[in-house]
């Protein structure tokens, strides 16, 4: 049976029984486990800072964060799961659809940390996730407490200031008209459902977005990282829907580069795998992410879940969170199909 | 006592044994004798040798080395090659390029677990015999000349004093002068060491010169076996006679005490008897050019008339004459002195004692140059 990503496969024999019953025991057990493997979609540089901060807080746990781009991060897990290998403990990724698919398989552990719960309560109580506008995220823990929103990533567009003399005032400046024909880049909608959701949501705002994009013959990038580098180098004049995190380092390098993040954000989740070899350390780590120190490191440069995180970039007014929770998976599939058709796939 | 005994050896190749390469060969080689297998290409010489060596597995027959049965098809005995205690010399030397001459020669001794001391002694001795000095022995085969390589190969085959030494056309790759030299060297070695040897060649001169006895093979079978001079003087069949250099003078029919030519004008005495047809063969250097038109020859001479000189060649101390006998070409070797012009008419004569008569086989033979089936493969 080759259908689906991992259903019907063996569970790793070494899979631990789950975290300890009480939080102090979890903390103790985590120190004994002493190591943790986390896969994250964020950049290695960012991850390094997180690692340093966490290990400062929990010196006995050796944290290793590996970057995988979407969708690789989930297919890897599927492959490992099928092979009965569990090398990863915690995922920091973006694909809610994937999560939903595996919910029934017992893929994930409940997230039990007190700070995570507190953040959830805070959000449930109506505190907004530090964004203005109309946040659609009303809780942090989803899907039977197996999925935790850890930060919001801002999305926007960017352009090369050498090539583009007058900054495009809004999204539709990029795709109305032929100005950017053959010179626009975008993320491949097939690599991650987040991208699909973004384009889909935008298409609600700009009705014939897909057709207009198709006519521009955009260059597709696997993710925002390569896209922003290509933009910085001048391979394209502008990139549509680029992640704020990817833009930062390129901007820092001093390229003729500018960007705008018009109040769009998507959440980034934490998931603890049931097959984790360090179930307690996993809980400690996810919990730490929701502490102010954790948020300071993890959400640095992004929109944080908690208020008053100085390193976070929550300032953009009117961030509209394109929370995938609210989107029907069927709709996502339909968008993807339409977009592919428009792009000539 | 015979050192090598072969009985009814048989080996066929092909999907259903279609090509019988060795056809019931029976042989005995006494201790210290050198037997030469000679025959045209493809007659099965190499296959016979390879069966003896164990490189080929015969289909039937018995091979004994002294009192040890090496192979017996019926009794399912087949001693593998490396336990047969033989020496083998190949046409292409087959020296191991990565080893020095010394190490090449040492290999058979090492294989027999001969001690280091003894090895040194034996290699020294054999190197002297084959006339290789230490300087040459330290070189790799690629740095040696063809003759030196072949000498190393000889030393390698002889050094372990194997029961039987086999040679498969060991000199064919060398040029004429070197061949001549090494031929006499092998003869000398054999006289010095007195090993039992089997030697395969298609070169008659080599066979004559090297062999104590010569076995003439055709089509996988041994037709005649004997001392070189025996074979030379009285070849058993016209095929062997041709191998020995005899060429057809004429096809003749005996009639009333005279031979009469069937494919040439021929005259000369014949034994009484019924009129059956023979071919008369003689060696090119025993045929002389007679004055044209001399009448009936003496009782000691045959005469062939109506030859036309088709070509003359200078051979240094002799000359070569190609004589056309009614379409058939005959090559003679005659002394210098008289000069011949192409087109000149000549008669040929040969002494009765120098000719051999064989019943004419049905195979049609018109050209009397070496026939294709003898020389081509």
């Amino acid at each position: 049976d080759y259908s689906g990503g991992g259903s019907g496969s063996s569970t790793p024999a070494s899979a631990a029984a789950g975290p300890a019953a009480t939080w102090p025991d979890v903390l103790k057990a985590a120190d004994t486990e002493g190591k943790l493997e986390v896969w994250s979609v964020l950049s290695p540089a960012h991850n390094d800072l997180v690692k340093a901060a966490f290990e400062k807080a929990y010196p006995k746990i050796d944290l290793s964060i590996t970057q995988y781009g979407p969708p690789e991060i989930s297919t890897r897990v599927d492959a490992e799961h099928q092979a009965g290998v569990g090398s990863v403990d915690v995922l920091l990724s973006t694909d809610r659809m994937w999560h939903g698919k595996h919910l029934a398989d017992g893929y994930f552990q409940k997230i039990v940390g007190p700070d995570a719960a507190a953040a959830n309560t805070q959000l449930l109580a109506g505190a907004q996730p530090s964004t203005d506008g109309a946040p659609k995220a009303s809780q942090a823990l989803y899907d039977n407490d197996t999925r935790l929103i850890t930060l919001f990533a801002a999305w926007g567009y960017a352009w090369n200031t050498d090539a583009v003399k007058s900054p495009p005032p809004s999204f539709d400046a990029l795709f109305s008209g032929d100005t950017y024909k053959g010179k626009i880049g975008m993320n491949d909608p097939n690599t991650n459902s987040v991208n699909t959701v973004l384009f889909g949501k935008l298409s609600e705002r700009y009705p014939d977005l897909f057709q207009r994009l198709g006519a521009l013959k955009p260059t597709l990038y696997a993710s925002s990282g390569p896209a922003s580098e290509a933009l910085g180098a001048g391979a394209v004049d502008a990139v549509l829907a680029i992640s704020g995190a990817a833009v930062a380092p390129v901007k820092k390098a001093g390229f003729a580069f500018d960007s705008k993040f018009p109040a769009l954000a998507t959440p980034l989740y934490a998931e603890v795998l049931a097959s984790s070899q360090s179930p307690n350390a996993s809980q400690v780590f996810t919990n730490w992410l929701m502490t102010p120190e954790g948020q300071a490191a993890w959400a640095s440069g992004y929109a944080s879940v908690l208020p008053n995180i100085p390193t976070a970039n929550n300032s953009a007014a009117g961030v509209e969170v394109f929370e995938a929770e609210t989107v029907d998976p069927k709709q996502v599939a339909a968008w993807r199909d339409q977009l592919n058709a428009a792009l000539g796939r | 006592m015979s050192d090598l005994k072969v009985k009814d050896l048989r080996k066929a190749f092909g999907s259903r044994g279609g090509i019988v390469a060795v056809d019931d060969v029976t042989l005995e080689v006494p201790q210290a004798e050198m037997l030469v297998l000679v025959g045209p290409s493809g007659c099965g010489k190499s296959t016979t040798l390879r069966c003896l060596a164990g490189l080929e597995s015969p289909d039937a027959g018995v091979i004994e080395f002294g009192d040890r049965t090496i192979f017996d098809a019926a009794r399912r005995i087949a001693v593998p090659i490396h336990r047969r205690d033989i020496g083998l010399v190949f046409q292409n030397y087959a020296l191991w390029p990565h080893l020095t001459g010394w190490d090449n020669i040492a290999f058979p001794l090492r294989s027999r677990w001969v001690s280091r001391e003894e090895r040194r002694r034996r290699i020294g001795a054999i190197a002297e015999v084959v006339d290789l000095d230490r300087r040459l022995l330290d070189k790799r085969p690629a740095q040696l000349s063809g003759g030196q390589q072949q000498r190393v190969a000889l030393a390698r085959a002889l050094v372990a004093e194997p029961r039987i030494v086999m040679f498969d056309e060991p000199l064919s790759n060398l040029d004429a002068a070197l061949r001549e030299q090494l031929r006499s060297e092998i003869r000398r070695l054999h006289e010095e060491i007195r090993f039992t040897g089997v030697y395969v060649t298609h070169d008659l001169t080599e066979a004559m010169s090297v062999g104590d006895r010569v076995a003439a093979m055709t089509d996988g079978a041994i037709i005649q076996i004997g001392r070189p001079d025996e074979l030379f003087a009285t070849p058993a069949t016209s095929r062997i006679a041709r191998m020995m250099g005899y060429r057809r003078l004429c096809a003749v029919t005996g009639r009333e005490g005279r031979w009469e030519g069937t494919d040439c004008e021929f005259a000369g005495p014949a034994p009484d008897g019924p009129g059956s047809t023979y071919e008369l063969l003689a060696r090119p250097d025993r045929i002389t050019v007679a004055a044209v038109g001399t009448a009936v020859p003496s009782a000691h001479d045959y005469r062939v008339r109506g030859g036309v000189v088709a070509g003359v060649g200078y051979l240094g101390s002799e000359q070569e004459l190609i004589v056309d006998l009614g379409g058939r070409r005959l090559r003679l070797v005659v002394p210098l002195g008289r000069t011949f012009a192409p087109g000149e008419r000549v008669d040929l004569s040969a002494r009765v004692a120098d000719t051999r008569a064989y019943p004419l086989t049905d195979a049609p033979e018109t050209l009397d140059t070496p026939t294709d089936q003898e020389t081509d493969e």
Binding site: R76 | F13, A94, W96
Partner: protein, 587 residues
Amino acid sequence: MHTTGSVASEKHSRADTDDPRPAPRPRVGLVDRRPAQSAARRSAALVLVAVLALLCLPPVYYVIDAALSGGGSGLRQMLADRSLGRTVQITVTLALGSVVISTVLGIVLAWGAQGLSRRHRWLGHIPLVPLVMPALAAVTGFGYLLNPSIGFGNLLLRKIMFWSDAESGPLDVNTVPFILIVTATLLTSFVYLFVRSALAQLDQGVYDAAAASGASPARAFFSVVLPLLRPAIVYSSLTVMLLALGQFAVPLFLGRQENLNVLSTAMFVSMSSSPPDIPLAAAYGLPIIVAGIVFLVVQRVVLRDQDRYASTGTKGAARSLNKSGWFSHAALVVYGLVAVAAPILSVAIVAFQPFWSKNIVIGDFTLDNFRSVFANPKLVDAIGNTLVYSLSATAIVVPLGYLCAKVLYRRRQQRIIANLVDVLVSMSLGIPAVIFGVGFLLAFTHGPLNLYGRGAGLVAVYVVVILPFVTRLALVGMLNLGDNLIEAGAASGGTLWRRTLTLELPMLRPALGNAVAICLVLTAQEFGASILVRSSRTQVMSTVLYDQFANGSNSQVAVMAFLMCAITGAGVLLALLLGRRSSPKES
């Protein structure tokens, strides 16, 4: 280059067909007579066949099984794919186009290399460089070189040519024609390799005779040389066709940005979508498998009657009469610049730039990118893994290939077993590495043997992918060595072990040394299979490079590519040095 070469090739199919002697009679006789010996040999050979079968068959089985699973759902899905027609069209274009371009180019270069003067003989090695140059490095290099707007090559062209006012072009690497050109340029090496060695074996007299008969050089080339090269040309073009069909790295790196897929990348995309659509991926692989098998059969048939090409002469050492030295020099130099130097130079520039940029400011060059690569433990691990897996795979595959070659060499004695070995070994020639990757992944995750996430898994894949090369090299070595030298050892009383250890192996050292070098080089840069089989713990250089390409930084991609080139180059140099020192001259 993750590609495959050839075992099914001239040499032993030749040993098969060229042999004027008919097949041996049934083996019953020998079995009866020497039961123990022959049984031992036979069972050893059977063990070998079993090992090969275990390595080569399950992956293919699983791919086919997956494609047909669920009542062929994968196939149905594939047929429903809107872009299937385009994908197939690009795949076929790539295959046929590569054959034409690389064959013509390979012949031109090989013929040109014949005419090189002694002093410029080294130029003849240039077209071989892409064989050992990491394909990923070349492909990323071409990406930097021919990016339509800021490719270094395009910038240069715009500067010197009349397109100067254009903002992009004139060349666009992310298009079918350029994917084709890049693929063909890299595959040209194969044609060159075979045609060159066929030319070297060609009797010079054959050409001289034509000239002496009054034929102009062109006539001599077309009526004598070209026909005589036919086996090499047919063989290498079929190989190129196979390689182009399974070509993965080039379309993946250059085509994805413009939405251009070939079957193998479509397969990879389905495999790496979330969740992986295994039946669909396998379905995309199926046509490639079928085509591979068809081509292997065709190759066999076409090359069957080879004796008509067997030159009657013996003296080799072809020496060209081609006096148009400038042409051969120019062709080789241009090829070297375009196919080798330019991409590697582009990679190097990006590696040393602080950030990928169209402005090359040498003063700004920095080692920062190298530093950050070496500071990243994952990348360092990948380099270490690559070394360990390469060495392990080499340690396994060289003995295995030697044994396979041995069985093939003695084909006449063990015809059935030899044919089995031949088929098994040839399989990974006809089937691209990327499919083996999928197959192994499935075999590891769905089969009883679980090697996923272990280095052993990658090593196993490498063994299968490299086996044909090693077998072929060893076999050619044995054929060149011939029987006599070993028979001489037996006649001297040497036992099998002594013969093998002190005679055969040392004499095969040049061939086996080459095999080791090729193994190391090819495994160190293997991509097609690695990308599928690797896990997070078993990353190798090529997969890390791809990850960086997909979501990391160009600079790091360039650094990795540069490092791969450097490591490979060092390996090749080492192998050349060792090979030169060790090769004993043949007598």
